[in-house]
Assembly symmetry: C2
Homo-oligomer: 288 residues x 2
């Protein structure tokens, strides 16, 4: 089975694998790149993680994830900003340790409504403020902050940024090398504006990372775990992927699947299945 | 407890009540209006339902619901178009039977992706085609078709129309008296464009009906049943309701709640609770 040279395994797909296992499973399958999550990196420590990543020979594509800065000013917000700076440093260190072609990208999930709040408009303003506060730090570290719009079903409890257009509006005030967007098919496939907004994201130089996984119904009881291997659901990957290509994005493409069944699969097998699904569903839409 | 004179109980809130019970519970609570569902109307027959409605003295606000016309041309599509014409006739008959101020509005839910299809763009085009086919019939019957955007979590299996802007784009080709939109807070509260799109809907004369219920998380296992009494969730009803008022909408306002706990409540009690919730959460934002 050939492996697409642009495939990156997002560690969220093999959530229960520790860092060593995730790196080994990705390498063993011949996949050239990986996106890491903060918790397994912190479990071994950043310096050790960087060494392990370097030894793996894998490209590093994104660091997942930070953000969660919708709360009003106060100690919790300060703690979040400080933690986001730590995440920026982690992303820079890991990108430097990864193989040639690694990218220093930190995926940002905005956060939902603060407890007891109904002020979604205010929450969004605080997202913009937080990014404004973090942008100089990210620029200094050479890290791109990638605002990720999440599906509107997560708007209240996880992410008040729901569309690509909205993410681009927030990013607009900042240099594209410092603030971009995460384009994840699962979150935005339903949006009637998705194709023109991808085109716009490319024109504005904002596509920091492209992530693919599939959507199908019925949704599981925990809607956070409703992501599937590409090709197993109803998303038509052709138009979005071609739009990404036409928008000039030439980077790696991550597969990030939160799914209890996938997580229960042996990580080596899950990576192989991910690679096969990518080859079947995504590769045909990429330039040869 | 005073009852708001613009409140209408959508029968979906008391789903397990038959038509007689629904009418009685609404009247008994002093609520002046009701929106009906097709199944309980058909259960007694349209002529009988019209007589029962007339005897109740209630205003009739909407008929729920029809649509489901995303399938390609063929017998299933013809059957759907035919059934939509029956629904149009039902809406006209019921509006004529209701008290003064009744409105002949048929709520349309587009339908999801046809089985085995990933072509959401094609499905949307077939929605437009179906409405084009039904519009002359609706005009002849004096019925307004009210396209309802549903939350994007229902995009694949229930409704490929996900935003108010998208519904307005579809409606744009038609006379506003024939094709309008349903503005339901539950489905569109998360949309960063919701307020300008309500303003636009008013400017274009498209607000056929305004429906309110609340959103909160975690979502229940069946996400279809995740609606709540106004005030019990995270929706800020002020900005949307004031936008509806500012847009010139002066009609009745329905409360439509799909929720297993609400459905398990005695219908008389559920109507009273709905009225109290409306008075607390919606009435303060309406003109005195």
């Amino acid at each position: 089975m050939s492996v697409d040279r642009r495939l990156s395994i997002n560690q969220g797909t093999i959530k229960h694998a520790d860092l060593a296992t995730a790196l080994a499973a990705t390498s063993a399958a011949g996949v050239p790149a990986i996106g890491l999550w903060r918790e397994p990196v912190q479990e071994v420590g950043l310096a050790t993680a960087a060494t392990m990543l370097a030894d793996s020979g894998l490209r590093f594509t994104t660091h997942c994830r930070s953000g969660f800065f919708t709360m009003p000013e106060g100690p919790a917000r300060r703690a979040s900003i400080d933690d986001n700076k730590v995440a920026i440093d982690e992303a820079a260190t890991l990108a430097a340790a990864g193989a040639d072609g690694s990218t220093a990208i930190l995926v940002l999930v905005a956060g939902g409504l603060p407890d007891g709040s109904r002020d979604v408009i205010g929450a969004r303003e605080r997202v913009r403020d937080a990014i404004g506060e973090l942008a100089p730090y990210a620029a200094g570290a050479g890290v791109t902050l990638a605002i990720e719009p999440l599906h509107p079903m997560y708007a209240s409890d996880r992410c008040v940024v729901s569309t690509l257009g909205q993410a681009l509006e927030i990013a607009h005030d900042f240099d594209p090398s410092v603030v971009g967007v995460t384009v994840d098919t699962f979150h935005i496939w339903w949006d009637p504006e998705v194709l023109p907004q991808i085109e716009r994201a490319g024109r504005e130089g904002r596509i920091a990372t492209y992530q693919v996984c599939d959507w199908k119904t019925p949704l599981p009881a925990d809607v956070l775990l409703s992501r599937h291997y590409p090709g197993e659901g109803v998303i038509d990957f052709g138009p979005m992927t071609r739009a990404i290509v036409d928008a000039g994005y030439t980077g790696d493409i991550e597969v990030e699947i939160f799914n209890a069944d996938v997580w229960a699969t042996d990580p080596h097998e899950a990576v192989r299945r991910t690679s096969a699904a990518f080859t079947a569903a995504i590769s045909p839409h990429l330039p040869a």
